[in-house]
């Protein structure tokens, strides 16, 4: 059995990293993820890990050094937030394009401007097309569990791709919750040892990483990359099955909460899903069939499974904690695609909430559910996309 503790989300991520014991970490501090690498630096200073810590001068160099280190042939991790991820953007594509498994803790924070240090998903949603596996976490426990599983998913021979595990800045990163740590040995046995493929350090078998690929071969590279990314779906389920055995906690591609017979549903990511679950319970007590779909694996996106899970609902709201200005929220666009798979589908609306760390209260979830109830009954939609929880 593991240990039950009261810790912050950042603390839990640093602890998972200590247990994973990567060969190299290259990172640059940024609020609210700073504490992850700060705590990890103490593990390095105290000899609790074997890691070479590369304290680079920017996030661009952090990801560059991670790419070099992982290509050299070892396990590599880092952590960042917001502008840090934005500065890595060029290198995120290069990590995935070169099929380099790196595991990154992303403590979600709003992107500038205006400058804001609090939690929303504009950073990870902005990076959703960078070719990284994206796994979202509701709380510290999920983030810890997801980080450990991400190592196995990223390094799987059918995948070999970088992965980011996302949790909400401050709301989770700086809040103390009770959670369970697994034993060190249990984690180490679960992740296993790193098996390098084509390591740069094997100078007897020299390889060229990152060549120039012209139109005659480029699309073949990209198709292979897409197929590897899609393979992460089954691998995620396989890894989750093994993880349940060591932890007793089960994970899927998404969490469905009271969704089986639901007429109306919210699709909501990360910490706000916890708040929304309470409100769904209240609606259920009133005899209203409400449910929640909380995505976990966002890249690759499990369109078929999500489409099937929502096909019998009458009205669904996707709540996005980020926006695509001039378009729908990123979550909405994915759910809309997922719903196209079946001929029967609910009416789908989009609410943008919680940007820059604005609190998401139960009454927000309640108001959306009431609106869905109305839509389900009448079929009339007032507006498909709307901001909620802002001052007039």
């Amino acid at each position: 059995m593991g240990k039950l503790l009261a810790v912050t989300g950042n603390q839990a991520m640093a602890e998972a990293m200590r247990q994973i014991n990567p060969d190299v970490c290259a990172a640059y501090p940024i609020t609210p993820s700073t504490e992850v690498m700060q705590r990890f630096s103490s593990f390095v200073a105290d000899g609790a890990v074997d890691t070479e810590l590369v304290t680079v001068e920017s996030e661009h160099s952090a990801m560059s050094a991670c790419i070099g280190a992982a290509a050299a042939g070892g396990r590599v991790m880092t952590a960042t937030s917001s502008q840090g991820l934005a500065l890595m953007w060029e290198m995120l594509h290069i990590a995935s394009g070169n099929r380099i498994p790196i595991v990154l803790t992303l403590v979600n924070r709003a992107l500038s401007a205006p400058l804001n240090i609090h939690g929303d998903h504009s950073d990870s949603m902005g990076a959703r097309d960078c070719g990284w596996i994206q796994i979202y976490s509701e709380n510290g426990q999920e983030a810890y569990d997801n980080l450990i599983q991400a190592v196995r998913i990223a390094e799987h021979e059918d995948v070999r791709l970088p992965a980011m595990v996302c949790m909400d800045g401050f709301i989770i990163s700086h809040s103390i919750e009770s959670m369970e740590y697994l034993d060190d040995q249990v984690v180490r046995d679960f992740i296993g040892s790193f098996t390098p493929t084509y390591p740069l350090l094997d100078n007897d078998n020299p390889v060229t990483y990152g060549p120039l690929v012209l139109p005659d071969y480029f699309i073949e590279f990209k198709k292979a990359q897409h197929e590897a990314t899609m393979a992460a779906r089954d691998v995620t389920l396989e890894v989750a099955k093994d993880f349940a055995k060591i932890s007793g906690r089960s994970y899927g591609l998404f969490e469905d909460y009271k969704l089986d017979d639901a007429d109306i549903a919210l699709v909501i990511l990360n910490s706000a899903a916890g708040t929304a679950k309470d409100v769904v319970d209240e609606f259920r007590n009133k005899g209203i069939k409400a449910g929640i779909l909380k995505p976990r694996l966002f890249r690759p996106f499990p369109y078929e499974e999500v489409g099937d899970a929502l096909k019998n609902t009458k009205a669904v709201a996707v709540l996005d904690r980020s926006d695509s200005y001039g378009g729908f929220g990123p979550g909405y666009m994915e759910i809309a695609s997922a719903l196209m798979i079946n001929s029967s589908r609910p009416i789908l609306i989009n609410k943008i909430y919680g940007l820059g760390g604005r609190d998401f209260f139960p009454e927000h979830a309640g108001a959306v559910l009431n609106e869905l109830k109305e839509i389900a009954a009448t079929g009339n939609v007032k507006t498909f996309k709307e901001y909620i929880g802002y001052r007039d």
Partner: protein, 313 residues
């Protein structure tokens, strides 16, 4: 056990940058890379900034590199190799690797002086055991001859064209070798493929030294300099004889000027060989030519003074 730097012995060593790549005839960069790779007695792992050298030597499915090689982006050859070197240290420390390897990065002046300066400065400050080699051809040649901070004053490039009002690049070059030396790294040097024994000796010192090292090597580009393809080595020699490109090295911060021309030629001897400086010889540009000569005289005197100062300490 090191190979002596004799042509006979060197000719028996395997070329680690193989022929058949697509660099231009007369380009300085592959000559420099071959000399450096030949100079090393240790197995090398290389990173390469985006640029002519990178795109022309690794057109998929071919590669010219017979050593492990990685390119990730333009501005980060130093950060990338610092990651490779960190993994090497980690695996060695853990007893997972039993090899004796050295690490080298190649970048042009764009990737070194400009867009990659921060990444390079960071890697040097962190003290990785790496060698960074800049092949300095004095402009962004890969994208079609745009000015860089290594472009000499007065040079005509596509973004500092010689026009009716402006006579080429307005600013003097950045002194990158001094900037690197100011990081207090154990070894920094300036070299030229024309003086191959000097370059190879410096490469060997840079590779052997424990810690970061920097080599700045002049690399003629016939496209950008607008010269014939068969004068590469002569251009380098003239650059040295005019003190446009002095050969010197900092060993643990102490400066040695490796070559002092008996009779320093005027810089016009260097400028007149190249189309990029042609407009400087038009009537009315005498003042500009004088400024260029004055800058070179001042820098050369400073170099000699610093060498004398370091020797007396």
């Amino acid at each position: 056990m090191s190979t002596s730097l004799k042509l006979k012995e060197l000719s028996r060593k395997e070329e680690l940058l193989t022929g058949g790549h697509r660099m231009c005839a007369g380009c300085g960069a592959p000559i420099i890379v071959r000399q450096i790779l030949l100079a090393s007695d240790r197995p090398l792992i290389a990173s390469n900034a985006t640029g002519c050298l990178e795109v022309s030597t690794t057109i998929f499915p071919y590669t010219s590199w017979k050593i492990p090689w990685i390119h990730s982006a333009f501005e980060n050859a130093a950060a990338t190799i610092s990651g490779v070197e960190s993994m090497y240290r980690s695996l060695k420390k853990q007893g997972k690797l039993d090899k004796d390897l050295k690490f080298i990065a190649f970048g042009g002046d764009g990737g070194t002086y400009d867009i990659g300066l921060q990444s390079l400065s960071g890697a040097m400050e962190r003290g990785h055991d790496i060698v960074y080699v800049c092949y300095d051809n004095g402009a962004y040649m890969n994208t079609g001859i745009q000015r860089s901070s290594a472009t000499p004053k007065g040079a005509d490039t596509t973004t500092s064209p010689a026009g009716t009002v402006k006579q080429g690049k307005q600013q003097p070059r950045k002194n990158m070798t001094k900037i690197m030396a100011a990081h207090n790294i154990p070894y920094a040097a300036q070299a030229s493929p024309s003086n191959w024994r000097d370059l190879m000796t410096k490469a060997r010192k840079a590779i052997e030294v424990d810690g970061p090292a920097f080599l700045n090597v002049i690399s003629p580009c016939n496209r950008g300099w607008r010269t014939p393809t068969n004068v590469t080595i002569e251009l380098c020699k003239t650059a040295i004889e005019t003190c446009f490109w002095p050969l010197y090295e900092y060993e643990d911060g102490k400066l040695t000027v490796n070559y002092k021309p008996k009779e320093i030629k005027p810089v016009t001897e260097f400028l007149k060989t190249q189309g990029r400086f042609k407009h400087l010889f038009n009537p009315g540009n005498e003042g500009l030519l004088k400024q260029i000569q004055d800058d070179i005289d001042r820098d050369w005197e400073l170099l000699l003074k610093q060498e004398a100062c370091d020797k007396s300490n």
